[in-house]
């Protein structure tokens, strides 16, 4: 079976000449469907850069990224957009919620982009809010939520298109440990029950340990370490 996401000889270089900065250097990775992966490393080591490339938000300077065996450089911009819209879910450290809109409106944004009809959007929005235990806040303005509630809303938004992969960049970075713990629990539950591949960027060793596998990045190099 093809890997859900794989990379071959991946380089990412920022800037030119004197400003040249090698953010990623020869990264070879293979992530199986249903796996949970932690990308760990010090601040500035290249974790976010790697995740952005895996999530097709950014392009590598050199090397190949394949999704389900397909080289993504062969896809058009439109196909890549479609792939992200249909198959990927995103959770960020910053929540990126529109504070003036209701929680429900925020959560259904991927469906709006996918041209799903109003009624269907509403139905599925309420379903995913229920799944993250936020149904009663559906019609509240997003800015009135607590930090934990906001992150749960973001997870709901990431879930709404039934993604194969969820990318989470420091999902608990802005939360206290109790709330963060609940978010972790929710993510792993989705990984187990819905077989969603989980790719989490974190520098929290406790969170990393709960994953099937840790990918350790050091100055753009790979130093993989398996969890036993």
């Amino acid at each position: 079976m093809d890997a859900a996401i794989a990379t071959k000889s991946l380089d990412k270089v920022y800037g030119k000449k004197d400003d040249r900065l090698v953010a990623l250097d020869n990264i070879n990775l293979s992530i199986k469907a249903g796996e949970s992966i932690a990308i760990v490393g010090k601040s500035g080591s290249g974790k976010s850069t790697l995740m952005h490339i895996l999530a097709l938000l950014d392009e590598p300077t050199k090397g190949v990224v394949t999704v389900n065996g397909v080289d993504v450089s062969s896809l058009s911009e439109k196909q890549v957009d479609l792939l992200r819209n249909k198959s990927f879910g995103f959770v960020f450290q910053q929540f990126f919620l529109n504070g003036n809109e209701t929680v429900l409106d925020n959560v259904i944004l991927p469906l709006k982009i996918a041209k799903v009809g109003r009624r269907e959007r509403h139905k599925r929005g309420l379903e995913v809010l229920k799944a993250v235990d936020l149904a009663e806040k559906a019609n509240a303005k997003a800015l009135n939520l607590s930090g934990g509630q906001k992150q749960r809303a973001c997870i709901a938004r990431a879930l709404i298109n039934n993604p194969n992969v969820i990318f989470a960049d420091e999902p608990t970075g802005n939360l206290d440990s109790t709330t963060g713990g609940k978010i972790e629990e929710l993510l792993f539950k989705l990984n187990r029950e819905k077989k969603i591949t989980l790719i989490i960027v974190t520098h929290d060793p406790d969170l990393a340990k709960q994953c099937d596998r840790q990918i350790n990045i050091k100055d753009g190099h790979l130093a993989e370490r398996k969890n036993s």
């Binding site: 952005h52 999530a55 938000l57 957009d81 992200r84 982009i113 041209k115």
Partner: protein
């Protein structure tokens, strides 16, 4: 995103910054109001003139005169040879230009009648009655002008009816300005009353004819203050007036009225005119005669439109500015939408729609306001300085003109929005999503 969702999203973005949106819309609003008002005045006057043209002549009638050069009898090489049979009805000299008019005769009428598409030809006859008098004011006789209604499609008759050219009864309509001298206080009291018309002939004898007032003409801007007679009355007067004149004098006309097929296209009418020009006649429809006035009104309207246009250009920069701010503020939102799979074109569309909405609301509100102002001004005008000109609306706002203004401004807004929208569509999602 579906188009409706794009519109709603763009609208929500406008509502989020109500103050800024309102200021941008006001600039467009001012431009749209100005544009609407200047066009409204132009259209109002043109609509009125078009209506009045009906008073002057049927649109399928040509007034034909002999084509004469200003200095017909002289040329650079001396005097022009006399053409046997040519008659002159007037000649004038001594001014900066010598001028003269060659008379038309029955042979011209025959010639013109043979031209294709001409259905009937009549000489323009004039009568010069001595006086008009009524029973209502029996001791006074007044001078007046009497025309026939041939070639006139309809007169603006405010009470009563137009004269019937098929009736054997002698009928007249009088301008409203005649009534008080003739002893009538109201238009309705004059209706169906009799007038006596006195007229002299070439032998010095005077006779009277009695006619019935069938209608009263309202005051208007174009058109004369003449009374109008039906065909039978006119012919009776003309017959008496020309008694005793030699036939050669009677058969002398300043102009000829030719009625042409009303189904002719403008191109066909122009061809007809050039055919007549080839025969040595100048032919003009009533429209040609007022078209000069239209040209002037259009020119004035364009100048004011130009000013309104400048306002709109300034307003367009307002849109550019507002949208750049909006793009800046929504960087993260744009990044998120792109990350979630929204394409460049849709992002471009989102901001373009925001611009177009500003144009839409500004122009719609401007037109509504202009209509409102127009109503007030029209009301004041018809009660005030335009009191004597019923039917004249100083401002008129045809739906077509308003639609053109709205669509035009939306287009300007769209063009103004392309720059910021392009910037938005090119934003890199990771720049937006990165945080320090």
């Amino acid at each position: 995103m579906k188009i409706i969702d794009l519109i709603l999203s763009a609208n929500a973005s406008l509502l989020r910054n109500k103050g800024r949106t309102a200021l941008t819309i006001i600039a467009i609003f001012i431009g749209a109001t100005t544009l609407s008002l200047t066009n409204g005045i132009g259209d109002g006057i043109k609509a009125y003139l078009t209506k009045q043209v009906g008073n002057l002549g049927n649109s399928s009638t040509l007034t034909i005169t002999a084509t004469t050069a200003k200095t017909n009898f002289r040329s650079s090489s001396g005097l022009v040879k006399y053409v046997p049979g040519q008659k002159k009805i007037s000649s004038q000299g001594g001014g900066p230009n010598d001028s003269e008019q060659v008379a038309l005769t029955q042979s011209d009428i025959n010639k013109i009648a043979k031209v294709p598409n001409i259905t009937s030809v009549q000489p323009t006859l004039t009568v010069a009655p001595d006086y008009i008098a009524t029973v209502a004011n029996p001791y006074a006789k007044y001078q007046f002008i009497l025309n026939q209604t041939v070639g006139i499609s309809r007169l603006d008759v405010s009470s009563g009816v137009n004269v019937n050219n098929n009736s054997s009864q002698y009928q007249v309509t009088l301008p409203i300005s005649y009534l008080s001298s003739l002893g009538y206080n109201t238009s309705s009291s004059a209706l169906n009353q009799e007038v006596t018309i006195g007229i002299s002939n070439a032998l010095g004898a005077q006779s009277t004819f009695v006619a019935t007032i069938v209608g009263v003409q309202q005051k208007n801007l174009v058109g004369s203050t003449a009374a109008y007679a039906n065909t039978d009355l006119f012919n009776a007067l003309y017959g008496f007036q020309t008694t005793g004149l030699p036939t050669s004098t009677i058969d002398t006309y300043a102009s000829i009225q030719a009625v042409f097929n009303p189904n002719l296209t403008t191109a066909q009418i122009n061809k007809l005119k050039s055919t007549l020009a080839g025969l040595g006649y100048t032919a003009e429809t009533i429209k040609d005669q007022v078209s000069t006035v239209f040209t002037v009104i259009n020119a004035i309207t364009y100048v004011f439109d130009g000013f309104a246009g400048i306002t709109l250009v300034a307003a367009a920069f307002g849109i550019v500015n507002t949208l750049f701010m909006s793009v800046q503020e929504r960087t993260k939102e744009i990044g998120l939408m792109k990350a979630l799979g929204m394409g460049r074109r849709k992002i471009f569309a989102l901001f373009s729609i925001e611009a177009v909405l500003i144009g839409f609301w500004g122009s719609i509100l401007g037109i509504i306001f202009a209509n409102f102002l127009g109503k007030i001004v029209n009301n004041l005008a018809t009660k005030g300085f335009l009191k004597d000109f019923p039917g004249l609306n100083l401002l008129s706002f045809p739906a077509k003109a308003s639609t053109i203004i709205v669509v035009g401004i939306m287009l300007i807004a769209f063009l103004a929005g392309t720059l910021p929208a392009r910037r938005a569509s090119r934003k890199d999602p990771i720049d937006a999503l990165r945080y320090e």
